[in-house]
């Protein structure tokens, strides 16, 4: 049974197909890394060998782009967005699940409907709002609209269902106030939920493009994602420089992925059960 031709054929097909898909998925990364070592012309001609232009590309990237500033901008936006979103959303997720009331339940359902709102329908009013508040070209304008996230609230609420109520009862007997229970009991117990939510928010904030493209108009405020986009859309883009930039921009998310792979996948899965 094991070695009949049909079994062998299906094994060949399976490994061939799965292997090809894995290769195609990884290839652009290899191409990016090799590209960073080659000159622009070699990259476009599809040279697939390590070249000698890495130092030149890095030097050119640092001349064209104020690298420390751009990465500082990206880091600033990402850190503020992540910390504030996690704080606000976990408070709300906890609040909705632990303190039940009919009115809040209705609001919660209405909030979930906002998940369907496309960003394109928000960007013009948001842009005018930020203009009126004098926040155009500031990182506050980038972060502010992203903090209230219905999806992350939903994620925390779903995870809070697994939070043992005995812990709350015991803490109340010990005389802890509500905010103390949240801060000293809930937060440490829910570490893995925070980790998974951290990854979602971190990725979204670091990679955010359309909204920063609209509100960040000066070179002093631009994030790395915006810089790569404008480097690559030049009339004659220097692909060596673009590859170095793309590699550096992908490095943080790639690092988070490899160090927190389990939470990464959990975060991506959200709370779909």
């Amino acid at each position: 049974m094991r070695n009949n031709p049909a079994t062998i054929a299906s094994a060949v097909f399976t490994y061939g197909f799965v292997g090809l898909m894995a290769f195609l998925s990884v290839f652009p990364f290899i191409w990016m890394v090799l590209g960073a070592t080659n000159s622009s012309i070699d990259i476009i001609k599809g040279r697939l060998m390590p070249g000698e232009a890495l130092a030149t590309n890095i030097a050119n990237f640092f001349t064209l782009v104020n690298v420390p500033l751009v990465f500082w901008n990206s880091a600033k936006v990402t850190i503020f967005a992540t910390v504030l979103t996690l704080a606000v959303s976990s408070l709300a997720g906890y609040g909705f699940e632990i303190f039940r009331s009919r009115r809040r339940e209705n609001l919660y359902r209405a909030m979930l409907l906002t998940l369907m709102i496309p960003f394109a329908a928000l960007m013009i009013p948001l842009f005018i709002m930020m203009g009126k508040m004098g926040l155009i070209n500031t990182h506050i304008a980038v972060v502010l609209p992203t903090i209230g996230s219905a999806f992350i609230v939903f994620y925390f609420r779903q995870s809070t269902k697994a939070f043992p109520s005995e812990l709350r009862d015991a803490a109340k007997v010990d005389g802890l106030k509500e905010w103390q229970i949240f801060l000293y009991i809930y937060v440490p117990v829910m570490r893995s939920t925070y980790a998974a939510a951290f990854i979602i928010v971190f990725m979204t904030a670091w990679n955010n493009y359309l909204w920063p493209l609209i509100v960040l108009q000066s070179n002093e405020t631009k994030t790395i994602t915006l810089v790569i986009s404008s480097l690559a859309s030049a009339y004659y883009p220097d692909y060596g420089v673009v590859m170095v930039g793309t590699f550096l921009a992908t490095l943080p998310t790639l690092t988070v992925f490899f160090f927190m792979q389990r939470q990464f996948v959990q975060g991506m899965l959200g709370s779909v059960k």
Binding site: F29, K45, A92, F96, S101
Partner: protein, 299 residues
């Protein structure tokens, strides 16, 4: 109970409940609800820049007579109709192949296929633009294998540019969808497959008659997510086509058109808001339709 005053335990709970949820609800109201209502109101206004006046249904009439809008709408729907089924099917096939515990190296393969999810939409679009250049690696490989005899004009031909956008999105999101299916497959009892196999049910029939029906809720969820994502397509097209949606609007999407109407040409906020409501309505309709179809087939 120190905190419970006259209102008793119910009141105590309620005040705390509101305090916990207030920051999130306040922010969502200010930056989601208020703008979405405002842009509905705006879609009935016309004028340039901030000088706006009530225009009734003039913007909706303008939609019908705007060939660029029709083009953007057709393109967006093409991406949706072609790309989402291909990607979901591919993800399902990969998930069921990788669900086999006897597959050697499946952890590594799973990681590889999931890897595109870590890239930003801008980063991978930039990479794809380089790889699919006229004399780039993709064309030269296809020529070397003998699949094509002359290079495909991926970025300059209306048809191939659309194909490129579809290939790119599929590359980025197939692994993401696959992870959902793999998680769901783990909850299915393996013995169902064993019994079917012993009874001589071929692999393809096992896939269509066991896997797909059992995964239906997840498939529905991922379809809705992909629908919402595809209808909002922006980053990829903007970065593959230098922000133009070219060649000659062949890849233009609704989101990109709204962006151009607002920030590239003379700002026309009212009309742009009308176009944005087309996306709102499409998302709502398609999500509803998908839920409805899924329920119908249950009977």
């Amino acid at each position: 109970m120190v905190h419970a005053r006259r209102g008793g335990i119910g009141r105590y709970y309620d005040v705390n409940g509101w305090l916990f949820v207030a920051p999130a609800l306040g922010l969502i109201a200010l930056f989601m609800i208020y703008p979405i209502v405002w842009s509905l109101w705006m879609s009935f206004q016309s004028g340039r820049g901030m000088m706006m006046k009530f225009a009734g249904f003039a913007n909706i009439v303008r939609l019908w007579n705007d060939p660029v809008f029709i083009k953007a709408l057709t393109n967006t729907m093409t991406y949706f109709v072609v790309q989402v089924p291909i990607m979901i099917l591919l993800a399902l096939v990969l998930a069921s192949l990788l669900n086999n515990p006897r597959l050697v190296g499946r952890g590594l393969i799973r990681t590889a296929i999931f890897l595109p999810c870590v890239t930003s939409l801008v980063a991978y679009s930039v990479l794809f633009k380089g790889m699919f250049a006229l004399d780039g690696i993709v064309n030269s490989t296809l020529e070397a294998i003998g699949i094509i005899s002359s290079p495909i004009p991926w970025l300059t031909h209306p048809f191939w540019a659309k194909v490129l956008v579809i290939i790119a999105i599929t590359w980025r999101w197939t692994g993401y969808n696959m992870i959902f299916y793999l998680a769901a497959l783990q909850n299915i009892d393996r013995s169902i497959y064993e019994v079917a196999r012993i009874d001589g049910v071929p692999a393809w029939a096992r896939f269509t008659h066991i896997t797909i029906p059992l995964l239906k809720p997840v498939i529905l969820f991922t379809t809705v997510i992909s629908t919402i994502g595809t209808l909002q397509l922006f980053d990829e097209v903007y970065n593959l086509t230098e922000g133009k949606g070219g060649p000659s609007n062949a890849t233009l999407t609704l989101s990109l058109y709204i962006y151009n109407l607002t920030f590239r040409y003379m700002p026309s906020f009212g009309y742009a808001a009308t176009v944005s409501y087309v996306i709102v309505i499409l998302v709502a309709m398609l999500a509803f339709l998908q839920f409805f179809l899924a329920r119908e087939r249950d009977r």
